[in-house]
Every structure is written in C-alpha cells, then in structure tokens.
Amino acid sequence: MLITKLEHIESTKKYQELVESGRKLAVVCGRMGPMCIPVYDVMDSLKAKYPDVTFLDMEFDAPVAAETIRRLPETRSFSGLPFTVYYRDGKVVAATSSIQTKQQVKEILDAKLKA
C-alpha cells in the first residue's frame, strides 16, 4: 500500500478511464522504497505549479501495474524503481526508470506536457 499525498490508481478500469480521457498525466509506479519516496514527494510539490497535470501513483506489485504500466513497450527495458510514465492525449509521451530529481521531472513536464 502506498502512503503518499498523490491520488492512487488502484484498478485497470480507472487507469483506462484516465488515459482515455486525454488528460495530462504523470504516474509514478513504485513501492514505499528509498528511490520511490522522493519521486512521490517531487510530484506532490509540483501540483500547484502544474495545475493542468494530474499527478498519480500506482503500487508496483498490484495487479493493476502488471496489467498496465509494466506491460508498456516504453517500460520493457526498465529495471529501476520507480517507473514514471507521462501521458498526453491518451498516449505515452515520456517514461523514466529509477529516482529522478525535481529538476529532471520539471524538464519533462515542460518539454512534453506544457500547453
């Protein structure tokens, strides 16, 4: 169970609804581990600065992750938690593996999800 200030994606149905809505999404898929916790915090700290982006998380070991993010071609070569996937207009526009700094996340948000 993830203890974060982000909205959780707990079912494949919810994931599909979010992606199909075309909204700008940043989804952190991880555990409550040392590399994941800072990324959840980074996302939480960016909510106010990027109000049109929905920041979410997903439990890496839950069935929803096995059915969605872990099956994406963009994450096939990943071997470091967390997997962070960015969506726009229903498509994956960026994906990263392992810990990311606030600056690295902002660079992706500015490059891929800015209006």
Binding site: G33, P34, I37, P38, D41, V42, S77, S79, G80, S98
Partner: protein, 313 residues
C-alpha cells in the same frame, strides 16, 4: 516576493537538520527547515536501521518521518523539495530565498546539506541508470533474479549489498579499485565465504555497454593495463558519498574534500552560521553522529541568539 523573519533557518532536512530544528523549536525559537529534497536525507536510502539507540528496528524513511513530525509538533515549519534561489550568509541577518515560497531571514543559519551518492561520472552510467545500473539493492534486486550482475565498490555498503543480492542473482562480481577493501573485516569475510561472489580487484571502470539494456561492464587493471569485459545485466554502484556543498558562499571554508570546516561547537568561520551532519568535515558519518551535531549546533545557536538579544542586536 514576501519576506518572513525567523530566529533560525536550517538548510537541510536529514537527521542533523531535523534534530537541530527539534531543539530550536522546543526552545521556542522561530525555526524554518528548508530541504531541497525529501526530508530524511540519506536516511531515506537506508532500508533498515538497526543500530539507532532506543529503536529496535525501523526504516530510514520511517525514522525521518518521525523526526519531521517531532520538529513540526514543536512549531518548526518544514519546506521540502524547495528550490533555493538566493543564499546570503555573510551579514548579521542571513537571507534565504525559496522559489514560490518567499524570502526568509534569520540571524542564525544551520547548514545541514548532507551528502549524495557518488557516481562514476561516466556518460554510459547515466544512459543505463534504471536500465541495468542501480544504486539501491533493496529497491531493484528482484529485477535481476537468475541473472549475472556486478557490484562496484569496496566499502561496507558494497560488500553487504553484494551478499544481499545473491538472494536474487546467479552470480555477483565485485569490481573494486584497490587490492584491499575499506569494509569491516567481518563484511569482507562474509562476502568471500559466499560461493556466488567473485572478486575482480584493482580495476578502473571504463564504461557500460548495451543497447536498450545493460549487457556488460568494462574496466582496465590499474597496474597491468589489461582490459576486462564482464557480461552482466545489472550493475550496482556503491562508491561512497560526496558532500552537497556546491553553491555555498566562498566565506564558508571547505576542506579539499569539499567538506565544511567547523569547530567543536559546529560553528563555521562566519558568525551565526553553523554546519552539521555529513557535509561537515569529520571522521564518522552515522545517523547518531548527525543527531549529535544537530543537538550541539542548536544548543549553541540558542545561546548565541540569547546573547544577541541581550546586546540588543
């Protein structure tokens, strides 16, 4: 940008900074903690803390959360993931500007920036981060179940994590730059006794190979110049830490290793500025030593503030 006055500003939210905040806030001094990352600092990288006195066992992140809650319960304000855009420490009033938050002033600043894991600094290291290269065995070990991997380093973390990774990997090759280890003898003995671990010593890592994922580590023998290529799908890098002191004003004296010089009361050479924790020049770096630093700095800072008030400054 609005300006807010505090008695003390703590820059860094690891165990040293949070301890200083607990003591300052409990002394009813207006205290602000500004952390450029997640509070907890390097404790967050420690899966299990088993040697913190009075606590049987906990996670590093859990201990950090409790310390932050303690500081906040006494009235300290904590800003994490902060972007410090201006830092002025030289005058009697110090200035810390934080993007989207404001400008903060105080007569006392406690520097607690901590350290960051050292990287090899190779271009190919950045390319394969999260695609074979990892800095956390407990986070990523299970991705390498049944595979051949490497561990780079020769300290306690490297040897302990190498042993831990044998739970998953078929084999673990330890690559180290010297012909001896910095790790405690018991850690070396345990690693040497593990049949899944082999050692390749006196190596300088030259690169990482692969396409989408890591397929090999390359190195060169430091004395003979012999080139070595080790096929692996994972490489865990544990080569120590560097102090996060880049960006401090030149008035803060650093050692050749970029650690902050203080006296035994944690004072730097700038009046009203203290330094604590892993970024301070000292021999031993543990959560307990960080807590000690934070305590000493806060107690002395409280005395210093009292003296300023008595003098009407």
């Amino acid at each position: 940008m609005d300006t807010y006055a505090y008695d003390a500003i703590v820059l860094g939210g690891g165990p040293a900074g949070l301890t200083a905040a607990i003591y300052l806030a409990r002394a009813r001094l207006a205290t602000l903690v500004v952390d450029t990352g997640s509070t907890g600092g390097q404790m967050n990288l420690t899966h299990e803390v088993a040697n913190y006195p009075g606590v049987a066992a906990t996670t590093g992140a859990g201990l950090g959360q409790v310390m932050r809650a303690q500081a906040e319960s006494f009235g300290a304000r904590v800003i994490s993931q902060a972007e410090v855009t201006r830092l002025e420490l030289d005058g009697p009033e110090k200035f810390v500007e934080v993007e989207d938050e404001g400008t903060f002033t105080a007569p006392v600043v406690i520097l607690a920036p901590g350290g960051a894991p050292r990287t090899l600094g190779l271009e190919s290291e950045a390319r394969f981060k999260g695609r074979g290269i990892s800095y956390c065995a407990t986070c990523d070990g299970d991705f390498f179940t049944g595979q051949d991997i490497a561990v780079i380093g020769g300290g306690n973390s490297a040897l302990e994590e190498a042993v831990s990774l044998t739970k998953y990997a078929s084999s673990v090759t330890i690559l180290h730059e010297f012909d001896h280890f910095q790790a405690h003898p018991w850690a070396v003995r345990e690693a040497r006794a593990n049949p899944k671990i082999r050692f390749v010593l006196e190596q300088t890592i030259t690169g990482f190979e692969g396409d989408e994922r890591l397929t090999a580590v390359t190195s060169v023998h430091k004395r003979t110049g012999e080139e070595v290529r080790i096929p692996v799908t994972g490489a865990f890098v544990f080569i120590g830490y560097v102090p996060r002191t880049a960006g401090l004003p030149p008035s803060i004296r650093l050692t050749g290793r970029q650690e902050i010089v203080t006296d035994e009361l944690m004072r730097t050479e700038v009046a009203g500025v203290y330094a604590v924790g892993d970024a301070r020049a000292k021999r031993y770096r543990q959560i307990t030593t960080a807590v000690s630093d934070g305590t000493i700095a806060a107690l002395h800072a409280a005395e210093y503030l009292g003296e300023l008030r008595r003098r009407g400054e």
